[in-house]
């Protein structure tokens, strides 16, 4: 009877290993946004986001620590965290989705990709379709994307007093480079 167990064990290990090989994780990322405002432009950059893509099924997850957005004006940064994003209550924004296109990951090139999934910002889920450009190289990938966040959709309140200073829509730009996942 024992030998019946050897085959499944083998396959289990093999499957696990191959699944691991098909995971790509971010080794460098940059999220930024810019908003034109009459007094002072609002812009910030975050290099602490993490992401993983599973090549076998196109699944992608991204996790962004809100408190790590760096502003030039530190008071603005404080307001961003304390007043708008409430980053102590909602420390991360995330995206969980799946790349729609069937890509041949083994072929280097530039692909336009779309992903359906859930964007969570400020604790509020929004079902979104995000699009971007994916540059596939040998054992590396670069994902460039740009998407809009409508503040009301995520229940981010802007007080009337400062309404003119902050746009209702914020355009977020992201560049994430990936390498095979190791652990």
């Amino acid at each position: 009877m024992k030998h019946y167990l050897i085959l499944p064990a083998f396959i289990l290990i093999f499957n696990f290993a191959s699944a691991q090989n098909k995971l790509y994780s971010s080794n460098k990322s940059e999220f930024s946004f810019f908003s034109k405002a009459p007094l002072e432009d609002i812009e910030a950059k975050n290099t602490r986001a993490n992401s993983i893509i599973n090549l076998s099924n196109g699944e992608i997850v991204v996790r962004i620590p809100i408190s790590q957005f760096q502003f030039n004006n530190k008071l603005m940064q404080q307001h961003f965290n304390e007043n708008y994003m409430e980053s102590e209550k909602y420390p991360y924004a995330s995206f969980k989705g799946r790349i729609i296109e069937e890509l041949d990951w083994s072929k280097p090139g530039v692909y336009s990709v779309n992903a359906n999934g859930t964007l969570n910002i400020h604790g509020v889920d929004q079902y979104r379709k995000l699009s971007g450009k994916l540059t596939v190289g040998e054992k590396s990938m670069l994902l460039e994307t740009m998407f809009e966040v409508i503040l009301i959709d995520h229940k981010i309140d802007i007080p009337k007093l400062v309404f003119k200073k902050i746009a209702e829509k914020i355009e977020v730009k992201a560049n994430i480079s990936y390498a095979p996942y190791l652990k």
Partner: protein, 291 residues
């Protein structure tokens, strides 16, 4: 039996990675982040908080202390007379800042530097407190008879500012303080005075908070006519400004004045209404953001 195993083998690849597992993989459990905004401003009320001005940011602070409320209607509850302090503070980097100020009270100039030694962090193996070092020098320039030398009009302050942000809303600070005056106004006073400040803030809403501050002078150092400084404030922050509306028993706004030379007493109504308004400007180059 064999069939079941074969079936299992076929199913295994499908179950390999669910999305939640991916989420777990990207969640780095060793992430350590600095906890920010222990206090809204670089002052709790009179005394300094652990906060420093950000890199290449400048704070302009306008402070007023009106006369005592118990002056009555004749003096419009103290509002007829006021002292002020104008201050500029600049962050050389995200930990180190310098500042200077000029108070109308005793025509005092003050200069100081602050350094964030330890920053409170969140995450595994986190640092529980923030510690900021403060050093200051102040000189009175008001003419007196007899005229005192510059040396005699000078004083020095050193502080350890130790604070913890307990929750989003509640922060507490202890400020062991050493103040040296080259010449005390009351000649029986100690020239070097040891004191400790305790201050806290409680947020009411996202933009408002109530602050309290008490500066305790250890006994037998200064004249009995001096009182410990006690202050309360309501902080309101709008866009680039922080407004602090406050009540205190001290006229002066430099450490020597409010820690060692407060002569007002809350009990007899020697309370001053006042405010601090701070406005932040950023001189950080835009190129820091654009690649």
């Amino acid at each position: 039996m064999r069939k079941i195993f074969l079936l299992l083998n076929l199913l295994l690849p499908l179950t390999a990675f669910a999305q939640e597992d991916l989420m777990k993989l990207v969640s780095d459990s060793n992430e350590v982040f600095v906890r920010t905004a222990t206090f809204k401003a670089t002052r709790i009320i009179n005394g300094h908080s652990v906060e420093t001005v950000g890199k290449n940011n400048m704070d302009f602070i306008i402070s007023h202390r009106f006369d005592r409320i118990n002056r009555g209607f004749e003096e419009f509850f103290g509002l007829d007379a006021a002292t002020n302090r104008l201050g500029l503070e600049y962050g050389l980097n995200d930990r180190f800042m310098v500042g200077l100020g000029r108070s109308s009270f005793q025509k005092t100039f003050d200069y100081f530097a602050k350094y964030k030694l330890i920053r409170q962090t969140t995450g595994s193996g986190s640092t529980p407190i923030s510690v900021t070092l403060f050093g200051g020098y102040a000189i009175r320039s008001q003419k007196t008879t007899p005229q005192l030398s510059g040396y005699d009009r000078s004083s020095y302050t050193a502080q350890f500012l130790i604070a913890r942000k307990f929750s989003e809303a509640f922060s507490l600070q202890l400020s062991p303080t050493l103040i040296h005056r080259n010449r005390a106004d009351v000649f029986t006073d100690n020239k070097t005075v040891i004191a400790t400040g305790i201050g806290g803030r409680m947020k009411l809403t996202k933009r408002t908070s109530i602050n309290g501050e008490y500066n305790y002078v250890l006994p037998n150092q200064i004249d009995d006519n001096y009182n410990n400084n006690l202050s309360f404030s309501f902080d309101l922050e709008t866009g680039g400004h922080v407004f602090q509306l406050l009540f205190t028993n001290s006229f002066g706004m430099t450490e020597r004045q409010f820690v060692t030379e407060t002569d007002g007493s809350w009990g007899s109504g020697d309370i001053h209404f006042g405010f601090n308004i701070s406005r932040t400007f950023s001189f950080e180059k835009k190129s820091r953001l654009k690649p």
